[in-house]
C-alpha cells in the first residue's frame, strides 16, 4: 500500500515503514458533522485508503413515506438536510403540485423563492464557516451564527419553527406573510451584506486558510460528473449546472442572477463558489421582494393555489361551511385519493440537486418515493478524493463537501 507514498524506495517485506495503522474517524468524531464513519488507513499522517460507511442514522424515510398522506411527508423532508430544510419542504410541495397538476400563483412562487434563497444562504453560511472551524478558526463560525439567527427569525415569523421548519403547504403557504416577517427580511437584507463581507475578509485572503484549502480535496469536472455531483461542489469543479437555470421551477426564470463557477474543484474553490452564491442569493431575494411588493389589493392577499382537496380550509370556514368541514376532515385523516402517475421534480438544494421521485398508484399514499440526496453521492467520492491526502486535509474536505448525515442516510 505504501508504494503510493514511497515510489522510488523499495522496502523489504515486513519493515516498519511498510506498516500502516487504521484509524476510525467517526461515527462520533467532531469532524463528521453527524454520524458516519470513515475507516482510514494511515501511513503516518497520510491517508493510504479511506473506506466510508453509511447508515448510522438511517431512518427509512422512503419507506415511512409510503404509509403517509402527501402533506405528512413534508416533516420527513425537513430532516434530510436540516441546514436548509425550507428548500426540502418546497421541493416536496412542488413535486406534489407536479403530480396534481396544480399551477401556483406568481405571488406564491416569489414568496417561495425568498424562503428558498434564505435557506440557501443559511446552508452555505454554515458550510463555509464550518470549513473555518475545521481549519481552526472557531471565532468566524460563532460570529456569523448570530446572523443565521436573523434568517431563523424570519422562518419563525412565517411558520413558527426554526430548524425543522415544515414550512408551506401543498399549493402555497399556511398563512400569508405578516408585516413583521417583511420587516425582519428588510433588516436581514440591510445587515447581512456587511457581515458577509467581513466573513470574506476574515477567511478568503487569509494566508493560512488559503494554504490549507487550496489544493485540498480536489476533484476534476469529469470525475465529478461521473459520480453524479451537482450543486456547489460540481460548480467548483467548473461545470455550470444549476437546476434553477436549467429547469426553472417556482418562476426562477423571472430572476436575473449568475452562476458562480470554480476551476479546480478543491476546498478553496468550493468555499469561494458558496460565498459567491450567497451574494447571488441576496440579489435574488432583493428582486423577489420587489416583485412581491408590486402585488396590490386582492392580489397581495394570495398565498396559496385554489385546491380545496389538498389545501386545508380556513378554520372559520370549517365551523360554518359544510364543504370546508368535509375537506378538512378528509385532508387531516389522509383520505384524499391522489391521482396515479409518476413524477420527478428536482430543486437546487443547499447541497446540490435535491430530487423527489414519486410514484403513485392512485391510493392515498405514494406507492414509492425516492429522494435523490446529493450528500449521499458526494460521500461516495470521498474515498477517492481523500486518498493520499493528509489527515487534516481529509477533514476539511469532508466539511467543504458539506456532507450532512441526515441527508446522506435519509
Amino acid at each position: 500500500m505504501s508504494d503510493i507514498l514511497h515510489p522510488h524506495i523499495t522496502l523489504p517485506e515486513g519493515s516498519i515503514e511498510k506498516q500502516t495503522s487504521t484509524l476510525n474517524l467517526g461515527p462520533t468524531h467532531p469532524a463528521t458533522h453527524g454520524v458516519f464513519q470513515n475507516i482510514l488507513e494511515l501511513d503516518g499522517e497520510r491517508i493510504v485508503s479511506a473506506e466510508q460507511t453509511v447508515g448510522y442514522i438511517h431512518r427509512a424515510f422512503e419507506k415511512l413515506a409510503e404509509r403517509r398522506p402527501l402533506y405528512q411527508i413534508t416533516t420527513l423532508t425537513d430532516r434530510l438536510n436540516y441546514c436548509s430544510s425550507p428548500i426540502n419542504n418546497m421541493g416536496w410541495h412542488m413535486t406534489c403540485e407536479k403530480l396534481l397538476k396544480v399551477q401556483t400563483p406568481k405571488r406564491v412562487d416569489y414568496l417561495r423563492v425568498i424562503i428558498m434563497e434564505l435557506a440557501r444562504i443559511s446552508d452555505h453560511l454554515i458550510c463555509n464557516s464550518i470549513v473555518g472551524v475545521d481549519t481552526g478558526a472557531l471565532s468566524v463560525f460563532l460570529y456569523v451564527m448570530q446572523y443565521r439567527e436573523l434568517i431563523y427569525e424570519i422562518y419563525e415569523e412565517i411558520c413558527g419553527s426554526r430548524l425543522t421548519t415544515n414550512i408551506g403547504r401543498i399549493g402555497g403557504f399556511e398563512r400569508n406573510f405578516n408585516n413583521t416577517a417583511f420587516t425582519k427580511l428588510e433588516k436581514f437584507m440591510a445587515e447581512y451584506p456587511k457581515v458577509l463581507k467581513e466573513f470574506e475578509t476574515l477567511l478568503t485572503r487569509n494566508r493560512i486558510f488559503m494554504e490549507r484549502t487550496i489544493g485540498a480535496g480536489p476533484i476534476a469536472a469529469e470525475r465529478a460528473l461521473n459520480y453524479g455531483f451537482t450543486g456547489p461542489n460540481l460548480r467548483a469543479a467548473g461545470v455550470d449546472y444549476d437546476v434553477r437555470v436549467h429547469s426553472p421551477y417556482s418562476s426562477y426564470e423571472d430572476f436575473n442572477f449568475e452562476i458562480p463557477v470554480g476551476k479546480t474543484g478543491d476546498c478553496y474553490d468550493r468555499f469561494l463558489v458558496r460565498n459567491l452564491e450567497m451574494w447571488e442569493s441576496l440579489k435574488i431575494i432583493d428582486q423577489a421582494y420587489k416583485k412581491v411588493q408590486e402585488f396590490k389589493g386582492a392580489e397581495a392577499e394570495v398565498y396559496h393555489a385554489d385546491i380545496p382537496e389538498y389545501y386545508l380550509p380556513k378554520k372559520e370556514d370549517v365551523y360554518t361551511k359544510m364543504e370546508a368541514l368535509i375537506y378538512h376532515f378528509k385532508i387531516v385523516m389522509g383520505e384524499t385519493e391522489i391521482p396515479a402517475g409518476e413524477v420527478y421534480h428536482s430543486v437546487e438544494g443547499g447541497n446540490g440537486e435535491l430530487g423527489f421521485y414519486l410514484i403513485s398508484d392512485g391510493g392515498r399514499t405514494p406507492y414509492r418515493l425516492h429522494f435523490r440526496r446529493p450528500c449521499f453521492i458526494y460521500y461516495q467520492a470521498y474515498s477517492e478524493i481523500s486518498q493520499g491526502a493528509m489527515l487534516s486535509d481529509a477533514i476539511i474536505t469532508l466539511s467543504s463537501l458539506n456532507v450532512i448525515a441526515g441527508e446522506m442516510d435519509a
Binding site: 484509524l23 481552526g136 471565532s139 460570529y143 476574515l202 494554504e211
Partner: protein, 354 residues
C-alpha cells in the same frame, strides 16, 4: 553539622519567594483561562462566563473545583505509571521555568535586601531552554501512555513541532546574546534599562525586531497555541494528547498550557521589552521598595499585554497543517534566524572596526 553551616536566612528567603512565585503564576494561569474565555467572547460577540461571582470572576475556581471532583479514569490498556507521569511532567516543567525570571529589581525588608529573582544563574537562558525542551515529554509520554491513536498522533505532532521550533527559537536568541554578551536574564534586563527616551530606546526589540518576531512565533508553537495547536487540534484529533485524561490530570495539562503561556510572555518581555523597566520613570530617585513595586507592575502589564496578543491570535487565525508547520519551521524560520545572526554579527564586527 552541615545543617548549621547553611545560610538559613537565605534558604527561608528563597523558599518564601518560590512559594510566592509559584502561587502567583498559578493564580495568573487560573485567571488566564478566565481572560481567554472573555477575550474569545468579545471576539465572537458573546458574553463569556458571567454566572459565578461578579462578572464571572469565580469561574476559574468553579472550574478547578469541578475538575477536582470529577471521576478519575485511567484506561485499562494504558501504561498507568506513565499515564500519571505525563501531566505531572507537564506541570513540573511549566513551573520550573519561572525560577530564573527576574520579577523585579530588589526589595528591602527589615534591613535585608531581597532580590526578586529566585536564582540569578549565569546561564539563565540556557536553563529556560533546557526546561522548556523537557516540557515536550509531558505531551509525548501522556499521548503515548493513553494507548489511543488520536493521542499518539498528537504526541508525535507535538514532539516534532516542539523540537523543530526550539531550534529556530535558540538561533533567534543567539543574535541577541551576541549583543548583550550575557546569558543571565537579570543582566539582559539591566542592559536594556540604559537606553534613551525614557529607557524605551534601550529595549532589545529595536535592535532585534526580526529576532523578536521569530522568537514570538516559536514561543507560540512551544505553547501549542493556535495557529500551532496541532497536538490538540480539536476538529481533527478531538482533544489530542489529553483525550483520555479526566479529572485534575486533565486540569494539569490545561493548566500547564496557561502557565507556559504566562512564562513565555514573561521571557519575551524580559528579553525584548526591558523586563521590569518602567519607561519615563527614574527609579533611582525613589525608595528601593517603591521602585521594585513599580517594576513589578510594569513587568506584569507587559506580560498581560502579550498574553492578550496570544489570545487574540488564537481566536483569529486558522491552524496550520502538519507539513506546512514543518515547512515554516525548517525552511522559513531557521534560515531567517541564521540570516539574523549573520547580520547581527556583521554589524557588531563593523562597529568594532573589524
Amino acid at each position: 553539622m552541615i545543617l548549621l553551616t547553611l545560610d538559613w536566612a537565605f534558604i527561608i528567603e528563597k523558599l518564601i519567594l518560590i512559594a510566592i512565585v509559584v502561587s502567583a503564576s498559578l493564580v495568573i494561569a487560573m485567571y488566564a483561562t478566565y481572560a481567554e474565555r472573555k477575550v474569545a467572547a468579545v471576539m465572537q460577540d458573546r458574553r463569556g462566563p458571567n454566572r459565578a461571582g461578579p462578572f464571572g470572576l469565580l469561574q476559574p475556581l468553579a472550574d478547578g473545583m469541578k475538575l477536582f471532583f470529577k471521576e478519575e479514569i485511567i484506561p485499562n490498556s494504558s501504561n498507568k505509571f506513565l499515564f500519571i507521569m505525563g501531566p505531572a511532567l507537564a506541570m513540573l516543567t511549566a513551573m520550573m521555568t519561572s525560577a530564573v525570571v527576574p520579577w523585579g529589581n530588589k526589595l528591602e525588608i527589615f534591613g535585608t535586601t531581597v532580590s526578586l529573582q529566585i536564582a540569578d544563574i549565569n546561564i539563565g537562558i540556557l536553563y529556560v531552554f533546557g526546561v522548556v525542551s523537557l516540557g515536550v515529554y509531558g505531551i509525548m509520554i501522556g499521548g503515548w501512555a493513553s494507548n489511543n491513536k488520536f493521542s499518539l498522533l498528537a504526541a508525535l505532532r507535538g514532539a516534532s513541532q516542539v523540537i523543530s521550533y526550539e531550534l529556530a527559537m535558540g538561533l533567534s536568541l543567539i543574535a541577541l546574546l551576541m549583543m548583550t554578551g550575557s546569558l543571565s536574564l537579570k543582566t539582559i534586563v539591566e542592559e536594556q534599562m540604559k537606553g534613551g527616551w525614557g529607557g524605551i530606546l534601550g529595549w532589545n526589540i529595536w535592535y532585534q525586531p526580526l529576532g523578536f518576531l521569530i522568537f514570538f512565533v516559536c514561543a507560540m508553537a512551544e505553547c501549542n497555541r493556535a495557529p500551532f495547536d496541532l497536538p490538540e487540534a480539536e476538529s481533527e484529533l478531538n482533544m489530542g494528547y489529553h483525550q483520555e485524561y479526566s479529572s485534575m490530570k486533565l486540569g494539569f495539562y490545561l493548566f500547564s498550557e496557561y502557565i507556559n503561556m504566562f512564562i513565555s510572555c514573561a521571557i519575551i518581555t524580559t528579553l525584548f521589552f526591558g523586563g521590569y523597566d518602567m519607561p519615563f520613570i527614574d527609579e533611582s530617585s525613589m525608595s528601593v521598595n517603591m521602585a521594585a513595586l513599580i517594576g513589578i507592575v510594569a513587568f506584569m502589564a507587559k506580560i498581560f499585554f502579550f498574553i492578550f496578543v496570544f489570545m487574540w491570535i488564537r481566536w483569529t487565525l486558522p491552524r496550520f497543517r502538519y507539513d506546512q508547520l514543518m515547512n515554516l519551521g525548517w525552511k522559513g524560520l531557521i534560515p531567517l534566524a541564521l540570516a539574523n545572526m549573520l547580520i547581527t554579527g556583521a554589524v557588531i564586527l563593523a562597529r568594532q572596526g573589524f
